[in-house]
């Protein structure tokens, strides 16, 4: 986008803001109703609940902290609050002054009849301006069959159209042709840089600690930035502020425990949640002394904690954090070989919500986020260590301003101090330490300001217009290794001192979403977004590994730029029972990075990583079809995506355009769940996608007597298609029957001992609060061998005349049943 079009955009924005002021001047007789929407049972805020005036059929959604504010003319109205899984709240209000109303939402009683009663406003799919945004509740996610019984947010969002999995054993995901580094993954506002455990079999998000998730794959609002493709916004639970509860689960490979309760009833609460895998603990005591197993093993753990406290009606403090690690160790005394690998994220967030008045809400956050990876190995006096990581300190302030029912204005600012640690290596042989350079850290400032307005132009036309300005500056200390373009040798080292500017970039990022409501059941939405991204993930391997490193923009690396156009048609059927949509998108990406051909990981040291990069552009386009049955005993969805993702690098593939490795022509997800009775729920998932694009050998030749490989065009071939079906069943025992059974057992015991049977009392609390369920699942029901990796193995030798090359695939998981027991009290 050119500068002039940026200015035009800015002018349009200013026009609307002026318009808002005019509206305000005219509406002196209007009043505001505002407050928080909460779950009545535990005091958790409801994010994205629908709050509207029945008479006007207009309203808003609660923000991330459950706050809403509606300003309308003086009058008598019905205020309706609806939230999935809860009974609608309806109250008549006489609006002749500003009203503060906190709404406690009651859980829906699950009987078929009541579920069928649909609130009038469940047509959010059609009416909101958000294009390509999906909100999911944990209840919904927990129904879907889970791999080894571990509920996984990242695996679930990959079932949505436009979101593609990187394949089995890989939690990296791809949104509309963007790379895995182009997704902004936020846990309570803190960036999570690597969301995967153990080569991606599990994500780092413990389902018990998560309240809700929102994925934005197109039409990214202006309050988000720094990534091109998507925002995955995950909110942790706040903790029950009414009573103490514990819940958990015992599975085949991991167990979970969550404890929550009030600090002060209705005022403050805490939640602490942990999860750990335990194969290593179970196996260790039984390993023979001296065997490699005794000192080897793998485990991961996650710890989430959050505290919140309401200081006054207008102020609230949240402190939350996450800490997780993967630890892999191997020690073999006989070969003196040791291996230690550990990686993980930690985040910490302090937030302060302040309500200036019933129309102006503010949140201020200080956020810490860290990811690091360590690989250590040693043998016979030789020691080798490799580190990489990224650490951020982030401060931000966000305002929501609700001047009237037609406008919702957001503005704010954000500052991040990044410390990158691209691959640093240290090695020694005996007493001699090899010179891999000092542990290098690269530092940078990133800042942004934004302003957006979500407003009704007419009753049918609603616009979200936003503008973001972002700025990035890499600072010293930094050494620039200048290369001779012909010999590749370092000709000069330019030293930048501490805090000295190395290079800076900045730019405007306009965002525009438009919704035109055709009638009460259907609408057309369009969006245009332009995003800048100042950090890149450099990946050498064909699959995302924890070794992939984050690198900042530099003198050589320019910011990634992404422009996306999307258009969608949304229609609900049968009184909003069915939601359907068709969306098409076109995306252009600039300044994409790849390693040059023949780059080796060791080349990062005593050098700048970016000297190994080559730069190019990309484009992606596709169509997404979605049909969802939201309610009823039988529900689920079907998504289909047709897409093309291409890259073009002058120095790769002879300058010819090639398919990105995650280019998927076809992608299908089918999710179905059926509530048979109060006891049994069944669900099934079926997925299909075109195989990953790969580079394959086309010829062999002889060098120094060895056969070596010549590779063909980049990503010119395909892995076999990926498809799989999972099923699960959840059994929730009937509480009354369990109590009855307990009574019977006690009766027998009493009778045996000759005690008075009428004295038997089953504690009420036990009966009321205790819940348990069994979850049975079968992964990969029809035992499909889906390729994890394809590689080429050479067999035989030239000398014996039987030399041949064979493509081999490794598949990870055959049919895998699992069982998990979950409890809550």
């Amino acid at each position: 986008m050119s500068n002039s079009s940026h200015i035009t955009f800015f002018l349009i924005m200013s026009f609307f803001l002026i318009r808002i002021n005019n509206i305000q001047a005219q509406e002196k007789k209007s009043f505001t109703i505002s407050g928080y929407v909460k779950d009545a049972s535990n005091g958790e805020y409801s994010i994205g609940a629908n709050v509207y005036i029945k008479e006007l059929l207009k309203g808003t959604n609660t923000n991330q902290y459950g706050f809403y504010s509606i300003t309308v003319d003086k009058g008598t109205y019905h205020l309706v609050v609806s939230y999935i899984g809860y009974q609608d709240f309806i109250r008549e209000i006489v609006l002749d002054k500003d009203i503060h109303l906190n709404v406690d939402m009651k859980m829906e009683v699950i009987t078929t009849q009541e579920v069928e009663v649909v609130s009038e406003k469940s047509d959010k799919n059609v009416t909101s301006t958000s294009v390509g945004a999906v909100k999911m509740d944990m209840q919904e996610i927990k129904k879907i069959p889970a791999f080894m019984g571990e509920v996984d947010i990242l695996k679930t969002i990959q079932l949505l159209p436009g979101v593609k999995s990187a394949g089995e054993g890989n939690t990296g995901f791809y949104v509309r042709g963007g790379g895995p580094d182009q997704n902004l993954i936020l846990l309570d506002e803190a960036v999570v840089y690597n969301a995967a455990h153990l080569f991606g079999f599990f994500s780092v998000f413990n389902g018990d600690a998560v309240k809700s998730i929102t994925l934005t794959k197109g039409g990214m609002p202006a309050q988000y930035g720094g990534r091109l493709a998507s925002v995955l916004d995950i909110s942790m639970k706040e903790g029950n502020n009414k009573e103490y509860h514990a819940e958990g689960g015992i599975g085949l490979i991991a167990s979970r425990l969550t404890i929550q309760g009030p600090i002060k009833k209705d005022t403050g609460s805490f939640i602490i949640s942990g999860r750990r895998t335990y194969i290593d603990v179970l196996s260790k005591p039984f390993a023979k002394p001296g065997s490699p197993l005794k000192n080897s093993g793998y485990h991961f753990y996650d710890l989430n904690a959050k505290v919140n406290y309401r200081i006054s009606d207008k102020d609230r403090i949240f402190v939350s954090g996450y800490f997780g690690r993967d630890v892999l160790s191997f020690k073999d005394k006989s070969s003196e070989f040791t291996l230690d690998v550990a990686w993980g994220n930690s985040t910490g967030v302090v937030r302060w919500n302040h309500l200036f008045n019933s129309k102006l809400f503010m949140n201020t956050s200080v956020i810490f986020s860290d990811y690091n990876f360590r690989f250590g190995a040693g043998q016979s006096g030789f020691e080798f260590e490799l580190f990489s990581g990224i650490r951020d300190w982030n401060a931000k302030v966000d305002f929501s301003y609700f001047p009237n029912i037609r406008n919702e204005i957001k503005f704010g600012a954000n500052y991040i101090f990044h410390t990158f640690r691209p691959t640093s290596v240290s090695a020694k042989q005996g007493d001699v330490t090899f010179d891999f350079g000092n542990v290098k850290k690269e530092k940078a400032h990133e800042a942004a300001v934004y302003l957006s307005d979500d407003f009704d132009v007419t009753d049918k036309l609603r616009i979200h217009a936003g503008l973001r300005y972002s700025y990035f500056m890499q600072i010293g200390p930094f050494d620039r290794y200048v290369k001779d373009p012909i010999s590749g040798q370092t000709t000069e080292i330019i030293h930048f001192t501490s805090n000295q500017k190395v290079k800076d970039y900045g730019g405007f990022e306009p965002r525009l979403n438009i919704r035109y409501q055709l009638n009460s059941k259907s609408s057309v939405k369009a969006s245009y977004t332009y995003n800048l991204q100042y950090i890149h993930l450099a990946s050498l391997s064909a699959i995302s590994l924890p070794t992939d490193t984050w690198v900042p923009c530099s003198q050589l690396v320019q910011p990634q730029k992404g422009t996306q156009y999307s258009l969608g048609y949304f229609r609900n059927f049968m009184e909003n029972k069915y939601e359907t949509s068709v969306e098409v998108y076109y995306k252009e990406l600039q300044n994409q990075i790849e390693y040059k051909d023949g780059s080796l990981p060791s080349n990062d040291v005593n050098d700048n990583a970016d000297n190994q990069f080559t730069f190019g552009k990309g484009r992606a386009y596709g169509a997404e079809f979605f049909i969802k049955k939201r309610i009823g005993k039988f529900n689920g969805w079907l998504g289909y995506t047709l897409s093309y993702t291409k890259r073009k690098f002058p120095e790769l593939n002879f300058g010819r355009e090639f398919y990105a490795k995650y280019d998927r022509r076809h992608d299908v997800s089918l999710i179905a769940s059926y509530d048979l009775s109060k006891k049994w729920t069944f669900s099934a998932v079926w997925v299909y996608s075109t195989g990953n694009a790969i580079t394959v050998p086309v010829a062999y030749y002889i060098i120094d007597g060895n056969f070596v490989t010549e590779y063909g065009d980049r990503n010119a071939f395909r892995m076999p298609a990926y498809h799989r079906m999972d099923i699960s069943a959840t059994y929730t025992p009937d509480r009354n029957k369990q109590i009855e059974r307990k009574k019977q057992r006690l009766t027998k015991r009493y009778e045996k001992k000759g005690k008075d049977v009428s004295a038997i009392v089953v504690p009420k609390k036990w009966a009321k609060n205790y819940e348990s369920s069994w979850s049975f699942s079968v992964f990969n029901v029809y035992n499909r061998h889906n390729p994890y990796i394809i590689y080429f193995a050479n067999e035989g030798s030239f000398a014996t005349g039987d030399y041949k090359a064979k493509a081999k695939q490794i598949y990870l998981f055959p049919i895998l049943p699992s069982v998990t027991w979950n409890f809550k009290f």
Binding site: F286, T490, S541, A542, G598, I703
Partner: protein, 319 residues
Amino acid sequence: MPTERNKIVNTYKFPLLPKLRDKLWREPAPNFFRGLGRGMFFLLITFLINCTEDVNLGVVGGEKKIVIEGSIENGKPAKVIVTRSSPVSQAIDVNSILVTDAKVYVSDGIIIDTLTLGIDSFASLPVLYNGSVVIGVPHQTYYLTVVADGKTYTAITTIPEPIALDSVWWKPQPPSDTLGWAWAHISEPPGYGNAYKWFAKRSGDRRYLAPFGSSFDDKFIDGKSFDFAYNRGSDPNDPTANDPEDITRGFYKHSDTIYIKFCTMDHNTALFYTTYEAAMQTNGNPFASPVSIISNINGGALGVWGGFGCTYDTIMPAH
């Protein structure tokens, strides 16, 4: 870089898990609980390494290209092997690999040497083109021209100043006291830009062999003085050399006489050999992405034209 590092990289590869599983399976389980614990770990490993199977991707195509492997060493004439690549879609036809009708010229800028086809049973391939007039001299640049299958290919290389090793010796590798590696001490001259290649052979070997990881530059070791070791490289043409049951594989015996050839090479030659070694190491490693070997030959041929500045040493451990 020295041997140990390569060892580590190799051990970290995929085969680690099957070994672990086999070990688990072999050790007896004295009681039920030990068996259970081990069984679970066994299951985990089993599902991690699960099956590897053949897959047909329907790869076709791949044209035959000219492959040039040429070198010129200080004090010696040029040697050039010319072959053709073999497309994967076809069975490897040994007869069509060798190119015997090429025209090969080497020049130092003044004199042109026309290489002649000859037989050398000590070379990696027995048929090669030998030079006679132009003899390698340090700091001199050499130009190669090959005309084969109707096309002309050219390349340039320079012989750098040879850098001698300070000392060389043999040391047993515990737990053995009769099998060991060849060690050397180098005082690397200050100033970046040097690259090295290590070759060695025993008295009975056909030719000098480069173990994997034998090419390295001074990026990490510039100006340092240190010891390093290499294991014994194996001859790919010798069918007995890669017998995994052979406990002496990779080692020099105490009774061996070891001849060391230690050479310097220019940047583009080093780039070829380091990417070649990386390609050899990642070949068959499912976690690695394909490494393209970077050739310094112009005109679309594969391979290398390398100048080497070499020094020679001998180790006789028994003496």
